[in-house]
Subunit: 144 residues, 2 copies
DNA sequence: TTCTTTTTGCAAACGATTTGCATTTGCATT
DNA sequence: AATGCAAATGCAAATCGTTTGCAAAAAGAA
């Protein structure tokens, strides 16, 4: 149950090391990603980006998200089956609780659940590469 | 960890009760859904359907899946963010382990995890309406 | 059977994402 | 600083899964 107070990793260095060029669009998109607490989709990232440089295109946003995902620098989510939403990968692993009324996304972490998942996979002859746990919830109203 | 050996529920009765007409396409689609162990997507259901009646259209498959989902007769999954895949809702709740190499889907159930999920939601002031737990795994190769 | 309403098939529209291609850019090299 | 080339961009068109409008067909109540 931890809100990752992430000290920014040096993505530019990571990109360079991966033999990838540092371009203006990429710098801007990385800035957006590292300076937000939420889980924006491509369109939202695009809108934030053109506020800084209105020549950036939506395809570049998509291409950059794919690149960063392949590098493991971001995670992709598809809450509800909606459009992909992203967040930087740094900080510790967590899962998500989605308020189905407001759309709010709350992050949480449970070592116990993580352990149980491992056990289950193991008992079936598998090892987990990644997983997804989403709780779709409604706020508890005490007087009801 | 249970493979639901589901005795077929009477969907036709359920549909009638909901004031919905029993049509040939719907009967065929329901048959496909109740007689399969896997998690087919709309296209796969469509192909199985036209083998029985080649006049069925893909839109009818989609419309029927939406109808059945609203009635709570089926569940919809979006593994990996791919196309929607379906399974009948009868039988007990379970989650899914996906073999990322073969695409196989294995069902499992853990009361402990379910309980922990409730606790977490509760502690954040929420109650769960539904959830999704997917383990993406690779088969364990003992000699490696 | 007739009548009314729902459902269908088809084709066109849709939203999210990807792609082809000509142009621009990053950056390693002079 | 100027050059050269590969990599990345913007744009428009294509793609994929899914939904929709509409006229024709089928369900089921009377
Ligand atoms: Mn987790
Ligand atoms: Mn579960
Ligand atoms: Zn998150
Ligand atoms: Zn299942």
């Amino acid at each position: 149950m931890k809100h990752a107070m992430n000290q920014k990793p040096d993505y530019e260095k990571e990109l360079r090391k991966a033999g990838v060029r540092i371009t203006r669009p990429r710098r801007i998109i990385l800035d957006i990603l590292t300076s937000t607490e939420d889980h924006p989709d491509a369109m939202k990232i695009f809108h934030r980006a053109i506020e800084i440089d209105d020549s950036i295109s939506l395809s570049t946003v998509y291409r950059t998200m794919n690149l960063l995902e392949e590098m493991g620098a971001i995670h992709r989510h598809a809450f509800n089956g909606g459009p992909s939403r992203f967040e930087q990968a740094h900080g510790e692993h967590h899962d998500h609780l989605i308020d189905i009324e407001t759309g709010d996304v709350i992050e949480f972490q449970s070592d116990k659940i993580e352990k149980l998942q491992e056990e289950i996979a193991r008992s079936l002859g598998y090892e987990i590469t990644h997983h997804r746990l989403e709780l779709y919830c409604r706020k508890i109203t005490p007087g009801e």
